[in-house]
């Protein structure tokens, strides 16, 4: 053992479990906190405690929120009949930051990964279907990642929504990133761009 006190050992071990933090960094942060003013260190502790006690998933869209339903779901100015389906809250924030989408969201809490054993029941697909049924939804925009697994998730949801009258299912456009150059695009991007080409004029 390293000779640290038990409390110190415990903190280092906990910090070391965080993503991107190795044993060295964990040690450095622990020493930093030890030297820091009590108030400063406690603010960090409080922030972590509040995160875990006050933040939860919106009961409608599964976004992270402190109020339930979340501010987006309870905003009357938003079009509740257009749902954009994303894999995780981070994706929602990204789309939200563009300021171009005025509908509401649905967070799946992941994507299907059949080879890893992640099945539809592990995601919030059933609640999504219930929302589409009960909230008069007109359009479901599938905004899962353009990976094989994200696409598979979108395909399954599309197949579950197929045949529902008055519900349009769309997929986020894909292909070449704006501002990029053809010569640097890889084969998948080009294939996507060709098959998703749009009419001009």
């Amino acid at each position: 053992m390293s000779g640290y006190t038990q409390t110190m050992e415990r903190l280092i071990a906990e910090l070391g479990r965080l993503p991107g933090i190795g044993a060295r960094s964990a040690e450095r942060i622990a020493f930093h906190l030890l030297k820091a003013k009590t108030d400063d260190a406690m603010r960090l502790a409080d922030a972590i405690r509040d995160l875990k006690t006050r933040t939860r998933h919106c009961s409608r869209c599964y976004n992270l929120t402190e109020a339930d339903p979340c501010p987006i779901c309870s905003d009357p100015a938003r079009d509740a009949r257009t749902i954009c389906v994303v894999e995780q809250p981070k994706d929602l924030m990204n789309i939200e930051s563009t300021g171009t989408f005025r509908g509401v969201y649905h967070v799946l809490m992941g994507h299907l990964a059949p080879l890893e054993g992640v099945e539809p029941a592990d995601l919030t697909i059933d609640p999504l279907l219930r929302r589409v049924e009960s909230e008069g939804v007109r359009e479901v925009i599938l905004g899962t990642n353009p990976t094989i697994e994200g696409d598979g998730t979108a395909l399954l949801i599309a197949s579950l929504l197929a045949g529902r009258e008055g519900v349009q299912v769309t997929r986020l456009a894909r292909g070449l990133p704006s501002g990029s150059q053809l010569e640097y695009a890889n084969k998948s991007m080009l294939a996507d761009a060709i098959s998703g080409r749009q009419k001009m004029g």
């Binding site: 993503p19 991107g20 299907l112 059949p114 080879l115 890893e116 054993g117 099945e119 539809p120 353009p146 990976t147 094989i148 697994e149 696409d151 598979g152 395909l155 399954l156 599309a158 197949s159 197929a162 045949g163 890889n186 084969k187 998948s188 991007m189 080009l190 294939a191 996507d192 098959s195």
Partner: protein, 269 residues
Amino acid sequence: MPISELAICLRRSDYSETSLVVRMMTREHGQASLMAKGVKRPKSRFGGSIDLLSVGQAVYSLPRENSVSTMGLLMSWDQTEAYPCLRTDLLRHAVALTAAELLARLTEELDPHPASFDAMIRLLRELQGGEPPVRRLAEFGRALLTDIGLTPDFQTCAHCGQPTGPGEFPAARGLLFAGPRSGVLCPRCQPGPGESTVAISRNLQQFFIENTQITGRLALEFVRWLVYYVQHQIGRELNSAATLERAIAAALIAHARSAQPTDSHDNDK
């Protein structure tokens, strides 16, 4: 010495913010776990990322023989083919995933199977070419079992040793296939108490014995048998099996929805 060869990505898992660990099936060296450093950076030399089921030229090195690490290093990746149909068609998607899982589970680390590798590439190309997915999966499955040496004996009863080939019994009578014995039972023999079996048709038997072309209906029977058989062989469930069944069901529903009442009913999916 770095190796350069064609490979297909069977699995990818996040290693860090920017790196992935990929499980590649390479043509000449079989499966290899490779670290792809920095692959998730937008301007990485891997051209964006490496997706599941993508096919390309991999330049990699394997861990040294006496090394503790079991992971090699992927130095570059040049995707050579794209199969957009796997992203737009649920059944094709599920078929490709099932094939990838079969390949991953029936071959081992650094256990080369060029014929199976080629069969996988052929399958992906056929799917992209618009050919019937379940039939092509059945043909892939047959090629894989043949290459790996796992084709069961369909011509001898696994219990009494009597011949069970076509012509031995009335053709209308199917046979029972016993997963735990990896073989068929003749109509005179009964499965043991609680022993797992599935019924197979004579056509399925013939498909193996005579290496015949497969039809739509038989393909579905074959694929279900294949999943059953492989699960017994590897002693666990195939993760992709449920996805495949869901996709088949969705395809049949879509087919029924689009079919005219007067249409023929060959479920050729």
